[in-house]
Amino acid sequence: MSEFISKMTSNQPVFDDNDPQDELITLNIGPTHPATHGVFQNVVQIDGERIVSGVSTIGYIHRAFEKIAEHRPFYQITPLTDRLNYCSAPINNMGWHMTVEKLLKIEIPKRVQYMRVIVMELARIADHIICNGILGVDTGAFSGFLYVMQEREFIYEIFEEICGARLTTNIGRIGGFERDFNAIAFEKIREFLNRYPPVLKEFEEMFVRNRIFIERTSGVAAVTPEEALDYSWSGPILRATGVDYDVRVQNPYCSYEEFDFEVPVGTTGDVYDRFMVRNEEMWQSLRIIEQALEKIEKEPKGVFHAEVPDFYLPPKEQVYTNMEALIYHFKIVMGEVDTPKAEVYHAVEGANGELGFYLIHDGGRSPYRLHFRRPSFVNYQMFAPMSAGMLISDAIINMSSLNVIAGELDA
C-alpha cells in the first residue's frame, strides 16, 4: 500500500502495464437482469464502465409462432398475433385480419375501417406510454410513469368495452369486428380524448426541458439515417434519425390516406429524439382518433363487418337457430371454403415499426407458410454493434428507447 501511495504522490504513472485494472472484464447482463425489461442477454466486454464489445443472445422465449401458424386456420392465428407485441396487440390483430382480407380480396366498409383506425391508434398510444414511461424510469423519474400508467389502464378499459379483454385482445374478425362498439365504448373513447391531453402535457413537461433528462439522453446512441437504413430499421426509431418512413403514409391501409396527421421526425437519432418522436406520435394519434370519430358519425350506423358470409363467422345465436348460418359456421370452422392460392405481403405500422405478414397460401385450411416481419427483431440487431464505446448506463437507456418487446423479438 505504501508503494501505491508513494506512486500516487510522485510523478510516475499510477498503474503499470501489467496492472489488472487494464484488463477487460466480461460481464453478463441478462437474461433476467431487471434493467433490460425482458429476457435479453448481452455478454459485454467492459473497460471500466465503458463497453468495448458485446454479443446479444436472444431466443429465450422462442415459442415457434410460425410453426404453429402452419397448423391453425386463419381465425385461430389472431390470438397468436396478440402475443407478438403484447403492448399493442390490436395493431397486430388488425394487421393479420387485413393480410387475410387482402388474400381473399374482401372489401371492408368505411365505418369498419375507421373503427379499426381508432383501435389501432389507441393501441399505439398504450405502447408509447409504456416505452416513454419506462424511459423516464430508467433515467430516474418514476412519477411520470405512474401518471401515464393510469391512462393506459383507461385505454384497457376501452378495449374491455370493445372486446372483453385487456391485454391480449383478439379484437375483430376476418371481415370486420365481432360486434359493434357499444355506446359506452364511444363515450369512453371521447372521455379519453378529453382526459389524456392534460396528462400527456404534464408528462412531457416533466421531461422535455428537464436538465437531467436531457443530459442523460441527448447525444446518447445517436444513429445516422444511413446506418439505420443499412440495419433495416423502421418505426419511431428510424424516424428519429430523420427518415420519414411511415407505413401509414407510404402504403396506406384502412383509409389512413383520408386522415390529416403529421409524421414527426428527429434530427440526430439519439435517445432524446426517439422520446420526442414517440411523444409527438401520441398527439398525432389523438388527432387521428378525433377525426375517425367524426367520420364514423357520417357513416351508416350499425355496420361492423363486411357482408362476406363465406369468411365471416356468423353470430352464435344464429348458428343455433338458423340453417344457413350453421352451414357457413361449419364450412368456415372445418376449412371447407375455397381460398385462392397466392402469396401476400401486407405491412402495417406497428408501434415499433413495420410489422409485416408474409403469407404463402396453397388453398388449404391453414397457411402453407406464414412469416412475421417483426420490427423488434430487426431493430434489435444493431444494439450490440452500436453499444461499443458506450457507457453501460447509456446502453441500458438505449435499450429502453429501442422498445424491444421480447415476444415480438423471439416470435
Partner: protein
C-alpha cells in the same frame, strides 16, 4: 414508378436472368438464379434510378414436394419511389447454400441467421452463422415440413385429449 418499368430495368441489366412470377397483389415478384442473386440485390440497392435501400425481410419456405426444395424470399422496398419487390431464389435440398446478403445490407445478418436456424439454409460468407432463436445444441431445423410442431418427447399431453 410502375412494376413494368422496374421489370424492364432489371431485364435490361440482367438479360435472360429474370423471370417474372405473376402476383395478384401488385407486388413485382421475380425469380432469379442463386448465382446472380447478390448481383441483382446489389444492383437494386445501388442503382440511382431505383434506390431499393430498405431491406424489409429475408425468409424461406420449404416445399418438400418440389425438385428444388427451398425458396429464399427477399422483400425489398424502395423508400424513395415507394415501390416494393419480392426476389425469390429456389435452392436444392437437403443442404441448401446461397451467398449471404450481409455484403449488401448489414441488417441481413439476423434475418439470415433466423433462416438458417429454422431451415438449415447455409449462407456462404455470413460473418456469424449460428442458431439465433433455438438452443445451440438442437440438431434439427424445425420449420422444415418433416418436423412436427409438438415436442415428441413430452409426456404430459396425450394426443387423445387434444383431438389428434
Amino acid at each position: 414508378m410502375e412494376n413494368s418499368f422496374l421489370l424492364e430495368k432489371l431485364q435490361e441489366n440482367f438479360p435472360d436472368k429474370i423471370v417474372e412470377i405473376p402476383d395478384a397483389h401488385h407486388l413485382l415478384t421475380v425469380l432469379v438464379d442463386v448465382e446472380d442473386v447478390i448481383d441483382i440485390l446489389r444492383f437494386l440497392k445501388g442503382s440511382n434510378e431505383l434506390q431499393f435501400i430498405h431491406l424489409t425481410d429475408i425468409t424461406a419456405a420449404h416445399y418438400p414436394h418440389l425438385e428444388k426444395e427451398f425458396a429464399i424470399v427477399y422483400h425489398i422496398h424502395s423508400l424513395v419511389h415507394n415501390i416494393r419487390i419480392r426476389v425469390k431464389v429456389f435452392l436444392d435440398g437437403p443442404n441448401p447454400e446461397i451467398p449471404t446478403a450481409t455484403v449488401v445490407w448489414k441488417g441481413a445478418n439476423w434475418m439470415e441467421r433466423e433462416t438458417y436456424d429454422f431451415f438449415g439454409v447455409n449462407f456462404l460468407g455470413h460473418p456469424d452463422l449460428r442458431r439465433i432463436l433455438n438452443v445451440d445444441d438442437m440438431d434439427v431445423f424445425p420449420m422444415r415440413k418433416e418436423y412436427p410442431l409438438e415436442d415428441p418427447n413430452r409426456v404430459d399431453k396425450k394426443d387423445l385429449y387434444f383431438g389428434r
